[in-house]
Each structure stands twice: as structure tokens, then as C-alpha cells.
Symmetry: C2
Subunit: 654 residues, 2 copies
């Protein structure tokens, strides 16, 4: 049995290589009569705007990138889970708390699945959520400022992968563990995994007004791997669906040992029923330790709070809330169509796509049409919940999105293609190659009741020879297809930041009108803001020195400072007094071991400098701000530790 | 006097705003009959390659970005001076030494001026150099691997801005200080700047075979600000030219006080003469303390060495080596045409462009046609060195590049345009608006004897309304113009990483054939490489544990590890055994306080994990590598500090 799996794997590997070696053909084959049409379709003329925002996760970069579609232009990298020296994210005093965790300060994570908030099953463009896999966390990005404003750690989780997907009114953002672990964590032999490890599925409530996140409950499931998830919607609103693999509960050489069972499961969770159970006092409080980090837009400052308890629910305590739908084989994607009727399970080692019916599932539950149980959770009969299959559509199916016109688009990693099929008839309509090895696909609004089926974006894992080479490390890539016709048309290859793991797209018009242009200076509540130049000053408190500084085109106040000593810890609290759009200033101090600051109009930020040597040391503006930007600089005099020179500061006094 | 300067400044500010508010007009005006032609000119069809590489500095991002032209697609961000969590640059044990300085570990810098190595005045595509301004450093990027392989700190410098430009055989890469400081650094009043601070111009030799950098000498100049620089070439090879401002030697409110003199200088340095002087034992050795960091491509590991001495040259000791060319007014750019005859000084507060003649300069020197001296350095007579001026070409001129056809292209920050003019006749030929506030312009090979005059790239400082909004922080931008006709044609706006400060462009064909695809495993000399799976192991040395691990599709060896204890410092030395192009693997460990690793085929990297709590903790591959990537994971058991569990490791043993 194990050998046959290895044989299949070697075939897949060969197929993968085959698809990667097509570059010569594709180079010539793609172009043709339609090239100029494709050029015009993706060209956004200077000064014009893209039609869609695409929020593309960076995978191992830990960040979220904002692209315009159809041009494929990178508009912003939003720092989320990784330090970013460019923006001082995780370096300045204001944002360092955002990267705090129960493991201490973690400067990196692996960000996978952005999902935009919804109201009534439609994208509302208020927030985008994204998961950190490695040290399990969920972040929320505010789409008026395009800044990360909240990060909550997820306890009892490991490889937080079946995350972060929202319910149709953003009641919850859901975070499922990928790897099962001992819960609570404890010292035990790895080989005793089976039957002892647990998989947690976490439901994080989202405050409808402010968006504040709070863990409502964790469902403690059998020790499988929970790979992906999607909410029910419309008729199936109130349910959530999770794909599983490693139902073998293997703990080593997973590529073989977790590929033994012919069918794994999609877990169907009736979260409304569990919510009711919890609201009525159900569940058990369990000691925990996880960080909740909140960035306050009034104070421009983040705080981190350690939470000590989490509410845990045993699925066996809530009968009728959790069922398992058998699904071949190691299903990866778990996608729900816009009507909420169909749940597509893409068995990555299966020849066919499995489409389950929500209606049939409910009937089967009512009929108690069970095929045994797993750790007490009823397994529904495969035939009873199956709507049908898409036969031999390709090799290595991963993910499916929907165009709102009754069609589904599935990515195939091994045969490296996107396949369009009809959701009702399960007939294949079209297929187009990807270059190479596509992972996720994205249609704007594809995870909602109301998709915008103009483009599908394929996010690829391998690109060799598609772009100019850049040494051993080459870019990852996305490909944009026009899906307005019956057949898909490849329009554009564009490279991406990190690994373009998944994306959430939205029409620009939903977000544009709400985009903030400046921070109002008179609303700045930062503890160390300097709102009037007259308040600019330098204060000493032991060997801590606080510089209260302002910046405006084209000088700092003060720009000459004396009385600093070796051994001092100097806090520069710098407030940008500009109140015009797109006039940030930067500030850097020679030898500072933190980072520069990039400060938006009306904002205050703080960096720390610990001078190591007497001298006269310059600082300057790092963001070209005016014709006299080069003149925007100053000096700090540093005296020996035992010096008697008094603190003094000035501007324009020779 | 000071008041009149402020008045001029306010006019400039108004002009700048005026140019920024044209967006409505430009939106409609840009499009037209030529739009589809522009679309086709910049469209690089899927699978085809761009014609040029553009290495665009990130300014305050501290990195170097690689773009393809004409598409404007971002192919890679090369980490240079800033930590990069995505690639573990500055986080893993191998690259941390690269960010060492005399101020300790500095995780950020401000990277400005990339310049590609030359042979006989032509781009050779071997290396690209780039300067860190804030904590003065010069880095070298190897263009076979697109990795930073050397960084040298520059002592006695501050705001290392007139850098990093190479001579026509890459004999030297030159780094000039922007801010003058006490040399050596000492505790002194800031107001005593004038006559006491010094400006250092550093000539760093480049080994012609391996490219190793070494400071040959520092020329200790008067305490002006040295803004930009370019080498002589052809007839003027052997000279280097530096623009200066703040010849007033003001120390506060520089926007006013450094804008008083009607003329500042271009400093002309005969480096060949100084080199000869130094080779004959000239100059003085001075104590210093600066880091020299080298990344070894065989060991995949960097080392940092502190150097303790630098050779300093007093210009007065080398008669005939240094002269000052009066140049109106606060000149910024200092550019030399492809023939080496013309030196263009762009006085940013001047109405006209100043074009000096190398031939006339040599005659004036021979005739001793001096107009006094500054700190003993002869000032040449303005009229005697002037070739002519370009009259009232625009407001706020900054930089000039050349097309090799006798034309120059100058950026104007305030009037926000690129102006084309004839180098010989100084007549304006064409002007095109930029959106908005252009800084540098770049023509591939523009800083060489042999430019490739197909495109000019304008790098802009302000973009409001040009792209979809992204909150208060909006992207910076570049604009691409076709310059093959008499009139320029705007083709494309594309957003950029950080501030697109300056760029170096080169035809792709010069670099492509040399681009490395993998690191050969059998040439891996990393101290902790594991070249055979049989050597994979775990070793304990006190509370240090070393994990020697390998990775190949789709498992780690070992993938189960026991015997780790709380309080251990665990080094994971991980070797990627793939030997195919574009098959990196990543590895991350839950709660690791460093970063993930992204390891190229044949490479070894190391991260440190300090587990804080007993339990069974997963690690996994972070770069989607195969159909069974999700199965590429393992577990580490962590026992209490006083545990007696022996170290053990395995793969595939249940």
C-alpha cells in the first residue's frame, strides 16, 4: 500500500516537471492575433485607476500586498505579521506590541488567506482578515487606512491554515488548526499522537461596529489535519465546512503515511447551534495564554494584552452540531458555491472532484443516515450527501471559486491548469494552462453570495523561465484570465511579493470613497504628540531622554540638540505637522539600531537611539518632501557620560 | 536676504502644489489615439521577457528592487541594508553579520544610488553597487546570484549621499559624505561647525577579479555638504566630480541658511593623481573603526571584520589634484555626458542649468585662472570653465542623463517635468510632464560612455490620485517614456517599492546568460551542511543543540525529534537537497523568535529556536513545493529542563 502511494507520487512529480518544461512552446503559443487585445485589456493608462483591488497574501513574507487589477500593479505592501524596516512596523515603539505573542516577540509569520468582511453575504469592504500560520494568529486590516489594527493569537492551534474565513455577516472569522497537537500542550512521545492529539477549530467573534475580535469558542475535534474551510451562505448560513487530511493520524513521513485512506472527511459544523449552546452556559473554560494586540488609531499606538482563558467545546456535548462527510482523497480546498447549496471538496490525490449537496446533507442528518462514527462524531453516508462528481477534470485539484453565473473554476496543481465547469451539471466547459503549478485561484467576491465574475486570478508556485532570471531565487507569479466569455482568455503574467498564496478581490468603488487621506492633527491623542511647535522640547528623566519633535516642510523643530550623553536612551517622539495628502516625512539618526520612521501627516511615531560615542551626529528626513528636502536635517551633540553640559535645543539660532 | 529666500521657497511650494493638482486634466489628457500603441509598447506577453533590467533603489526601504522594462514588473526585491523576514536576511545566522556596523547591528538603512560595474566605460553587468546613507555603507550585489555579497562601512562620513558611483573600469566605487561632521568625531558645540567640520570623499578600490572592496583613501575636504557625484570618462577618465551645497557651512534651519550663496561648487578631484600620491606613501593613517562584511558563496555564510585604520589625504598636500568650479545655486545633480567633455550642474535654486567643459577646466587649471580659494583649494573662474547654460528650462532642476545620441534629459522637481535638450547647443528640444515631482531620471547605461537610449524612466516623489488610494500612505511611482523619437512619449505609470530613489538599467542580454540557477550541493562548504541523509542527526553540547537536517520533496530528515528541553538553544542547520531550478523549500518552527528560512537548492541556512514550554511542537515547509507540500512537516518534543529523555531523531519510524 505504501509503495503504491510512492509510485503515484513519482508520477505526480514527473507530471509536474513535464508541465514546467513547456516554456518554449508557451512562449510562442501565447502570443498571436489576440496579443494586442490582451495588451489593451490590461493596460491602465497613466492617471487612470484599476477596476479592482486584489489583496494578495505574501505567504512566507508574512504580509498582505495590495494589487490593482487588471494591470497587476503593486500598490502597497501592508505589514501584518512580519517586521518591516521600510515602515518601521515592529521596530518603532508604537507598533512593537503588535508582534507580541505567547512565545514573545515574533518578527515573522506565514500569511495565507485574506478574506474581506461581508454584510448579508456581500463584500462590504470594511476590513480584510488574514491568518498567520506558524505562530497561530488572525489579523484585521482596516480598509480606510490600509493598516493592520488588530492581531489575536489562537491558542491550542498549530499551523493555523483553515483560516481566516468569515461568515456571511462577519459574525465570526474562523481559524482552524492544520496540525493537531496535545491540548493542553504537554511532554509526551510523538508516536502516541493517534487518539491523543486534538484539532481545534476556533470561532472568533467580530464586533459589528468596531470590528473588535474575541475568541467566542474553540471546538475540540479529533486529531486530524484541518486544511481549508468555508462558510455556508444563504440556505446553509449557520454552518461551516472544513476539509481534513491525515485522518490516519500519522506522525512521520506524512507524504506516505497521511495518504493511506481512500477517503478523508469534510467536517460540517453547525456553529449557530454551538453558539446557542455557549450562550446558554455550555462549554468549559480552559487556562490558556495568548496575546491580543490592538492598534488605536487615535493614539497611533498599539497595546498587547495576554489573555488567560479560552472557552472549549467538546463536539459530543452538542448533539447535531458536527458531522463528517466522507470525501476522497486528502481533500485540500473546501469551497461553497454562491447559493450555499454545493460544497466542493478537492481531493488532491483523487481523480475526480467531489461535490456535496447541502440539501442532501440535511436530509441525511434528519434520516440519521450514518456510516459509523469517528471519535463519536457521526459520519454521513458518502452516497447520501453527494450531489455528483466532476470526472477526471485534471490532476491534483486544489481550489475552486465561482463566477456567480453558475460556473466554477478549479485549480489543478499537477496538470497546472484552471478548469471551468458547470456547478449544476458538473460538466467541464473549458480548461487553460497555468505557468506553472497553480495553487489558489481568485475571483473578486468569489467567497460570497455575489461574485464579480470578470476575471479569475491564478496564483502559481513555480515560474522558471517565465520572467527574466534573478539568480537561484526567482519570483512567484500570478496570471490573469478574462472569464467574461465561454472560454477563458489568458491576459497577463505578473510577478508577486513572497508566495502569492491566496487573494481577496473587490471592486475598487466599494473601498475608494472611504479611504482616509490624512490623520487629523487635532485628533492626535498620542501620549507624546507635539501639537504645537512651541511645545517642542527635550526632557531628561535619569538617563532616559525624551525628544518632542515636529516636522514640516522643510525642517525639524528642534534641529540642534545638545546635552545628550553616552549611556542615554534617547526617545525621539516625532509628530508630522503636515495636513496635506501624500506629504509624509521620514526621520533617521545615524547609527540608530531600530529603524527609520515614516510618518504620515498628523501622525506621531517614536524611535529609540542609544548613542555609543561622543560627537556631533546628524539626523535627516528620509522621504523626499520638497525642493529643499536635502536641507531638512539637524545635529545632536553627544557628550561623554560624565559631562556637565545642560540639555538645550533650538531651531535657527546660530 | 534670508527673507527673500523664504519668499522663493513659498513660490516653489505653490508651484509644486499646482503641478500636483492637475490630475483631473492629466487623467483625460494622457489617453487618446496613442493609448493602444502605448499599451502594446509596454505589454510583455505571458512567457516573454522584458528587454531591460532596472535596478531601482528603495530609498527608505533600504533595499534594491529589480524591475523589468518596459513592463514595469517587479521581479525581485534584493535585501541589502534592511532586515527581510521573507528571506531571513539579517535574521538567520548566516546573514546577520552582513548588517553589523561600528554602531552594532543596524537593521535598516536608506539606499539611494545603484550603479552597475563597467569595463572600458561600458556596463559589464558583473555587480551593482549601492550606498546606505544613514549609517554610511557601500554594498555590492553579485549579478550572477542577485544577492548582496559585500558591505563595507565608510568611517568619517554622515549621510553617505554622493555615492556609490564607479569609475570607467570599476577601479573605484566612490562614496562622498553628505553632511560634514567633526573628524575625528568629538564632543564640541554644534555652532562651531564652520571651519571645524570636515567632508570626506572616500575612494573604495574594487578588485578586478573578485570585486572585493577596500578603502584606498579618504580625501578630507572643507565642511560643505557633498550631494552627488559622477566619474569622468573618456578624455576626463581619472577625474571625479562632486556637487556641493551648504558652502555657507550653516548648522541650523538649513532650508534658509544653506541657501544664501549665489554659487556653490562642483569639486573636481583628480583621483589618479591622488592614487599615485598614495601609492608613493602619501597620506596619513588615522585610527578608525568600521565594519567590513563579506558573504562567502561557498560557505553560504557571512563574516564581519572590524577595520581599525583608514588612510586620509589632505587635498592641500597634493597640489593640482582638487579644484572647485563655481556653480549656481545649491547644485544637486552632477552629471557627466558620455564623451566625458561636459559636466552638468543642476542648481536646484537656479533658473538655468550650468554646463561646464572639461577641456576648458583643464585649460583654466593650466593657466592658473583662479578666483580665490576655499580653505586653500583653488576656485576656478566660473566663466573660464563654463561651456554654456540651458536657459530657464524649468523650475528645480535635479538630475540629468544622456541618450548617447547627443541629447540630455533633465528632471525638474518643482515644475514636475522631464526636459530634453541638446548637449552641444544647449537648446531645449522637448518637455513632458511628470506626475508628480520627479527626482531622478534613468536611461539604461546613462552613467556610462555607451547609453541605451530607448527609454527614460522618471522616478517620482508624489503620486496622489494617480493610483487607487491605499489610505494615508500611497505608493511612490515611476513613469516610463519612449525616447526613440524627437519627442518623448509617456507610456506607463508603475508603482514602486519604498521611494524609487535612483536606478541603474542594463540590457537583459548582458546579465541573463550568467544568472545562476542552483547552488551545487557538492560545492556546499557550509560548516554545518548535511550533504548526505545518513549524516542527518541531532547533537547536544551543553544546552546548545544542533539539528543537522535535510529537505527534499516532500519531507524533512529527521521529521520526529525528541530529547529537546526547555532552556535549550536549538540551532536548526537545514540543507536543501534539491538540485533543480526553482525548487526552494522553507522551514518554520512554531514560536521561533527569528524568522523562517527560505533555502535555495543546494544551500544551507540556520535558525535558532529557544522553546519556552514543554509540549509537542510542529515545524513545516513554508514554500509550496509539490503536490504533497502540505504533508512536508514534522514534530519536536520538548521536555522539562530536568528531563532525562535522550536525544533521538527519526524519519518514517512509527
Amino acid at each position: 500500500m505504501k509503495k503504491s502511494v510512492l509510485f503515484i507520487l513519482s508520477l505526480f512529480m514527473a507530471a509536474s516537471f513535464f508541465s514546467c518544461n513547456n516554456s518554449e512552446n508557451s512562449k510562442n503559443g501565447d502570443r498571436g492575433a489576440l496579443a494586442s487585445s490582451a495588451a489593451e485589456k490590461v493596460y491602465v493608462a497613466p492617471g487612470e485607476h484599476d477596476e479592482f483591488y486584489a489583496f494578495i497574501s505574501g505567504g512566507f513574507s508574512g504580509q498582505l500586498s495590495v494589487y490593482g487589477l487588471p494591470s497587476g500593479r503593486l500598490l502597497k505592501v501592508i505589514p501584518v505579521f512580519s517586521q518591516d524596516a521600510e515602515k518601521a512596523w515592529g521596530y518603532n515603539e508604537e507598533t512593537k506590541p503588535m508582534l507580541n505573542t505567547s512565545h514573545g516577540f515574533v518578527p515573522w509569520d506565514d500569511a495565507h488567506h485574506p478574506d474581506i468582511s461581508q454584510t448579508n453575504g456581500k463584500l462590504d469592504g470594511r476590513w480584510v482578515f488574514i491568518n498567520g500560520n506558524n505562530t497561530p494568529r488572525i489579523a484585521k486590516v482596516d480598509l480606510t487606512t490600509f493598516e493592520t489594527t488588530e492581531i489575536i493569537e489562537v491558542p491550542n492551534s498549530a499551523g493555523n491554515h483553515s483560516s481566516s474565513f468569515v461568515t456571511e455577516n462577519t459574525e465570526y472569522v474562523v481559524a482552524g488548526t492544520r496540525f493537531s497537537v496535545p491540548v493542553p500542550q504537554r511532554d509526551m512521545p510523538i508516536k502516541d499522537y493517534k487518539g491523543n492529539f486534538k484539532g481545534s477549530l476556533t470561532f472568533i467573534s467580530v464586533d459589528p461596529e468596531e470590528g473588535h475580535m474575541d475568541i467566542k469558542f474553540q471546538l475540540m475535534m479529533p486529531g486530524f489535519d484541518y486544511d481549508l474551510a468555508h462558510p455556508g451562505r444563504g440556505k446553509s448560513h449557520g454552518w461551516f465546512f472544513f476539509s481534513t487530511y491525515n485522518t490516519e493520524e500519522a506522525n512521520t513521513l506524512m507524504e506516505v503515511n497521511a495518504s493511506q485512506n481512500d477517503k478523508d472527511f469534510i467536517a460540517a459544523v453547525n456553529w449557530k447551534k454551538i453558539e446557542e449552546y455557549v450562550n446558554n452556559g455550555g462549554g468549559k473554560k480552559m487556562p490558556a495564554n495568548y496575546a491580543h494586540n490592538v492598534y488605536d488609531e487615535d493614539t497611533h499606538t498599539a497595546t498587547s494584552t495576554m489573555k488567560k482563558e479560552v472557552l472549549v467545546v467538546d463536539p459530543l456535548e452538542v448533539p447535531g452540531a458536527v458531522f463528517l462527510l466522507p470525501t476522497p482523497k486528502s481533500p485540500h480546498g473546501c469551497d461553497v458555491d454562491p447559493t450555499g447549496e454545493y460544497i466542493v471538496g478537492n481531493g488532491k490525490l483523487s481523480a475526480d472532484l467531489t461535490v456535496h449537496s447541502y440539501t442532501k446533507m440535511i436530509e441525511a442528518i434528519e434520516n440519521k443516515s450514518f456510516d459509523g462514527e469517528a471519535y463519536g462524531i457521526p459520519i454521513l453516508k458518502f452516497e447520501d450527501v453527494l450531489a455528483g462528481t466532476v470526472k477526471q477534470a485534471g490532476l491534483g485539484p486544489l481550489h475552486t471559486e465561482f463566477d456567480g453565473e453558475g460556473n466554477a473554476y478549479t485549480s489543478f496543481f499537477i496538470s497546472s491548469e484552471v478548469v471551468k465547469w458547470n456547478v449544476e451539471s458538473r460538466e467541464v466547459i473549458d480548461r487553460k494552462p497555468c505557468y506553472y503549478s497553480v495553487g489558489h485561484v481568485m475571483i473578486p467576491g468569489g467567497n460570497s453570495a455575489d461574485p464579480f465574475g470578470k476575471y479569475v486570478l491564478a496564483m502559481n508556485k513555480i515560474t522558471k523561465d517565465r520572467y527574466l532570471p534573478t539568480g537561484p531565487e526567482v519570483t512567484h507569479s500570478a496570471q490573469l484570465y478574462d472569464i467574461t466569455g465561454e472560454k477563458m482568455e489568458l491576459l497577463l503574467d505578473f510577478p508577486t511579493i513572497g508566495e502569492p498564496h491566496y487573494a481577496a478581490g473587490i471592486p475598487a468603488d466599494i473601498i475608494k470613497p472611504n479611504s482616509k487621506k490624512i490623520f487629523k492633527l487635532d485628533e492626535n491623542k498620542h501620549e507624546h504628540a507635539t501639537l504645537n511647535n512651541g511645545d517642542a522640547r527635550v526632557e531628561r528623566d535619569g538617563n532616559e531622554v525624551h525628544v518632542y519633535m515636529t516636522m514640516i516642510r522643510s525642517h525639524f523643530t528642534p534641529d540642534n540638540i545638545e546635552g545628550i550623553k553616552v549611556g542615554d536612551k534617547v526617545y525621539f517622539h516625532v509628530t508630522n505637522h503636515e495636513q496635506d495628502y501624500d506629504v509624509p516625512h521620514g526621520i533617521s539618526m545615524i547609527g540608530a539600531n531600530t529603524s527609520e520612521l515614516l510618518i504620515m501627516p498628523g501622525q506621531t511615531e517614536t524611535f529609540v537611539w542609544e548613542p555609543k560615542q561622543p560627537g556631533v551626529w546628524p539626523f535627516y528626513c528620509t522621504d523626499f518632501c520638497s525642493a529643499l528636502h536635502q536641507e531638512m536635517q539637524g545635529y545632536v551633540r553627544v557628550s561623554p557620560a560624565n559631562s556637565n553640559i545642560d540639555l538645550s535645543w533650538s531651531l535657527g539660532e546660530d
